[in-house]
């Protein structure tokens, strides 16, 4: 209670200081008057009475001060004085202050921006209620690989109701064609049961969700995704009851989803439509993708155990299911949404912490240098009665003020940086919409700034205290201060080496991964993918419809101005969509074990258009059609693996297909083309002619003479001239696809690179600051040396030697530390080991160089010292 009272008293005193002073004066004046009046009544003359009163009182000034002391809120008042003094120092040392402000701003901006990533993706709660209770239902086979295809009958049993389950829903991704005034577009849909909204605990922001009845009847209602509502319907507030035609059927829009909601889909679905789950199975299969919300307080394990009991009961009685060894499991929705970026983000976060440490060390070095120059002033303060604690507070306030200004600038800068990162990362990582400068990030930034300021000021302050409070030993104190500064600078160089090594490893891996020469042409190759299933002429009777369609469209496309040639393949590279063929080689030493190869159906001109060179034999010709013998072309890897040491041309291989086995003859061998992996592993590839098969997927590769993006529209029209209204999947080009495929690695390399750059910049500033201050302090010594005959070159050499010493020490320690830490990064590295010698060596050399360069300016300063001037000072 006493403390509260005291606090209130002090706060009041703080704000009404002048009035309090006036009051006190009045009170004391009153006392003296009464005392003097008393003496006058006793017969003293007025003047003497007043003197007597004053004497009885004791020193008025002294007691006035004592009263003020009682009133004074020591720390707050002192802080105000200190801040004022700190601001004055800023004016006195503008260069120094600007340096510190810049460093803090840079460091805090980098840290805040990165932390916004970590906070947004990992820490911000998911946009639905109690996300920890939401799981996706999976079936885990004995090998441990989970599958999202959950048995329908088990799902229905759960849907019927259970105490452990609050709600369960099924979803299925889909596609639908929407006609926008003659231009059909393929939109992404998500089919969901009506309980989906309950499972995720969300509700449409406009309109309503579907009812169970509507889902049952597959009623023509649809809820728009928020992004689709904004981009396609102009965020029309009166959207409810508008109609849209999906696959030709008119649907009513009944609501709009909240922004950013896409559950575990990789991209936000454009439309949400009702899903009907029946005993016959949804979409002609007996599995569903299902999500579940457990009741409050139910543990994941108990729920899984319960699921296992129903599942086994059901599956044993059902002869259709053939995977009785699989058991149901729950996958927390969070893991599915956030994805596997956790590790990368944590590495980034560690880098952030290192940078903060660096900034603190930097600030400390700077202040150390300056306080050693202020030894005299500090000594005077001590002589005037400042306690050690008081001095500590003063020095810490000075550093905190500077870092606070820098921090504020840094936070302001990070506002733009976060927006930039959000734009860059939006297709790389999930949940980028949650990456903002929110309270968590601000709190982190402010705390970081304060800690940096305090630590930065504490180190020099503590050092100052340890030294003798004797003004004569100023030079001794300077030496000790210098030693600590050197340690700090070495520490900073060490940290920046660690960061640079990390960034270097990531970047090197990224460069290796970048398909700069994947083995086929990337430039000027437009791609057009079509959805063959929607081709009207496709039916069971016309199996060759795809072939004819491909031929006609290719011809039409060739007529487009700017097109050189058109080839067809079934699976585009780098898309992650692959088709594996099972191959058996009769007569192979390892008999019985089938080989797998990536397969593709291609037209004869494919190898020309893609510029994949032929090594042996021939490419496909129009003669390789239905009437001819079945042909195949393999790549070099397949050739050397399947017929080691022999010529593959003319040899037979067997293709195992669901429809039966097929025997083919190898007619050609082509160079390896890295179509399916973003790394350099060699994989067997096999090609078959389109004319001898019926592809279910088609992509046109168009060799253009101009920028492929310019022809996109014309190419689409060519397709529609053959099959009007046919939905076209994506129209892009190979170069873009390749670029996109490495976006995640690129993103992280870039981020780490920025850190490393910041770190190196800070270290350079540190070396510069330290040496420059040393020159200023040791001016007298330099003057003496010069007077005694040392040439400017020699002086310069002294400086460089110091820089080399600092640099070498820092780099050696840094390399050792980086070596120890880099194995934690191993999981993130592709194509590069964590102890890559080149990266380490290059980093070491680079940082050393930077340290020496940073010494240039001080070196120049030193050679300019006028011995006469400095000796006189």
């Amino acid at each position: 209670m006493k403390i509260l009272n005291a606090l209130w008293f002090s706060v009041r005193a703080l704000f009404a200081r002048r009035r309090a002073d006036a009051d006190l004066d009045e009170e004391l004046a009153f006392h003296l008057e009464r005392e003097a009046a008393m003496h006058e009544r006793d017969g003293m003359p007025a003047a003497e009475a007043r003197r007597e009163a004053a004497r009885h009182f004791g020193g008025v000034q002294r007691y006035r001060e004592e009263c003020r002391d009682v009133r004074r809120v020591s720390w707050l008042d002192d802080a105000r004085a200190d801040i004022r003094f700190a601001l004055r120092l800023i004016r006195l040392y503008p260069g120094f202050s600007a340096n510190i402000i810049l460093i803090s701003a840079l460091g805090i901006a980098a840290c805040a921006t990165t932390f916004s990533l970590v906070s947004g993706i990992l820490l911000t709660p998911l946009p639905f209620s109690a996300p920890e209770r939401v799981y996706e239902l999976e079936l885990r086979s004995t090998e441990g690989t989970p599958s999202a295809a959950f048995p329908l009958d088990v799902y229905e049993r759960i849907a019927a109701g259970a105490p452990m389950v609050e709600a369960v829903a099924a979803h299925a991704p889909g596609n639908v064609t929407v006609d926008w005034n003659g231009e059909p577009e393929r939109l992404r849909t998500m089919l969901i049961t009506s309980s989906y909204f309950r499972v995720f605990g969300i509700a449409p922001i406009i309109g309503r969700a579907f009812t169970a009845a509507e889902a049952e009847q597959s009623a023509p209602v649809v809820v728009l995704g928020n992004e689709a509502w904004r981009s396609r319907f102009n965020a029309d507030p009166a959207i409810v009851d508008r109609r849209v035609a999906l696959d030709g059927v008119s649907n009513v829009i009944i609501g709009v989803m909240p922004p950013g909601f896409r559950a575990q889909a990789t991209t936000e679905p454009d439309l949400w439509v009702p899903l009907r789950v029946t005993a016959a199975g949804s979409r002609r299969s007996n599995t569903v993708e299902a999500d579940i919300r457990l009741a409050a307080g139910v543990a994941q394990r108990s729920a899984e155990a319960w699921l296992a009991t129903i599942a086994h009961a059901k599956m044993e009685s059902d002869t259709r299911t053939d995977s009785v060894d699989a058991s149901p499991s729950l996958a927390p929705i969070r893991t599915l949404i956030v994805g596997d970026v956790q590790r990368q983000l944590l590495v980034l976060f560690a880098a952030v912490m290192l940078v903060l440490l660096l900034v603190a060390a930097n600030v400390a070095t700077m202040f150390l240098a300056r306080s050693s120059a202020r030894e005299r002033e500090l000594g005077v303060r001590r002589a005037l009665g400042a306690s050690a604690g008081r001095q500590l507070r003063q020095l810490v306030t000075e550093s905190a003020t500077l870092t606070a200004i820098g921090g504020a600038l840094g936070i302001a800068a990070s506002y733009w940086a976060v927006a930039a990162i959000r734009g860059l990362g939006v297709r790389v990582l999930s949940r980028m919409d949650a990456v903002t400068l929110d309270w968590r990030v601000l709190l982190f930034a402010v705390t970081g700034t304060m800690l940096t300021g305090i630590v930065g000021g504490l180190v020099p302050a503590l050092t100052a205290r340890r030294n003798a409070s004797d003004m004569r030993s100023a030079s001794g104190a300077r030496v000790a201060g210098h030693r600590i500064s050197s340690v700090l600078v070495i520490a900073q160089i060490t940290l920046s080496v660690v960061l640079l090594v990390g960034a270097g490893l990531l970047v090197k891996g990224f460069l290796r991964v970048l398909p700069s020469d994947p083995g086929f042409a990337l430039e000027n190759r437009a791609t057009v993918t079509v959805e063959l299933a929607a081709l009207p002429s496709m039916s069971d009777t016309n199996r060759h419809a795809a072939r004819e369609f491909a031929r006609e469209v290719s011809d039409r496309m060739r007529q487009v101005k700017g097109v050189r040639d058109v080839a067809v393949m079934t699976f585009l590279p780098f898309r992650g969509l692959v088709s594996r063929a099972e191959i058996e080689i009769p007569g192979h030493p390892v008999e019985g074990k089938p080989f797998t190869a990536y397969q593709n159906l291609v037209t004869p001109n494919y190898f020309d258009v893609m510029r994949i060179p032929l090594r042996k034999g021939r490419a496909f010709t129009p003669g390789d059609d239905e009437s001819a013998e079945r042909a195949a072309i393999v790549n070099e890897t397949a050739g050397s693996r399947w017929w080691p040491g022999k010529n593959p041309i003319g040899r037979q291989l067997t293709l195992n297909r669901a429809r039966g086995r097929l025997s083919l003859t190898v007619v050609g061998v082509v160079r390896d083309a890295r179509l399916f992996g973003t790394d350099t592993k060699l994989r067997p590839e096999i090609y078959f002619p389109v004319a001898q098969n019926d592809p279910r997927f088609l992509s046109f590769i168009v060799h253009t003479a101009v920028d492929p993006r310019l022809l996109a529209h014309d190419l689409k029209r060519a397709v529609w001239s053959v099959a009007p209204q046919l939905p076209i999947g994506t129209t892009t080009d190979l170069a873009t696809i390749a670029f996109e495929s490495v976006r995640r690695v690129r993103f992280f390399s870039w981020a780490m690179g920025v850190f490393a750059a910041v770190a190196v910049a800070l270290s350079a500033l540190a070396v510069y600051g330290l040496l420059s201050f040393a020159v200023v302090q040791r001016r007298r010594e330099i003057g003496v040396r010069m007077a005694l005959g040392a040439s400017p070159g020699l002086i310069g050499a002294l400086i460089v030697r110091r820089a080399l010493f600092l640099g070498t020490a820092g780099v050696s320690l840094g390399i050792a530390l980086a070596r120890a830490l880099s194995r934690y990064m191993e999981s993130l590295l592709v194509e590069v080991t964590a102890t890559d010698a080149t990266v380490f060596a290059a980093t070491g050399v680079a940082v050393l160089l930077v340290a020496v360069l940073a010494a240039c300016a001080p070196m120049y300063q030193a050679t300019r010292v006028d011995p006469v001037q400095s000796l006189r000072a």
Partner: protein, 109 residues
């Protein structure tokens, strides 16, 4: 003067101020006159030291202050005892008695 000795002097003064205010509310000068009178002029405290004491007691919440018109129509700051102050007075008085009795015993031994 070391902190501890000062404490001893201060607490005696504080206690007497509280006692004075427990009789009736008065201003600073009135308190000094009261102490002088009642102690039969034995205690000639430096009147100035009263004011820091009053500020301390006010800060700690044992007394309250307000401006009032004094006897000679001048504005003066009048102090009064709070409930906490009353309790504090009793406590300090108890401690002081114990202290002086102990000293007495030692001197008479």
């Amino acid at each position: 003067m070391t902190d501890r000795a000062l404490e001893g002097r201060q607490s005696a003064l504080d206690m007497m101020v509280l006692k004075a205010l427990s009789i009736e509310g008065m201003h600073g000068w009135g308190i000094s006159q009261y102490i002088q009178r009642v102690s039969r002029d034995v205690l000639q405290i430096n009147q100035g030291s009263l004011y820091p004491a009053l500020h301390r007691l006010e800060r700690d919440g044992y007394i309250r202050a307000e401006w009032r018109q004094s006897e000679n129509n001048r504005r003066a700051r009048y102090y009064s005892l709070s409930a906490g102050g009353r309790r504090q007075l009793q406590a300090e008085h108890r401690d002081w008695l114990a202290f002086s009795q102990a000293v007495q015993r030692v001197m008479q031994a």
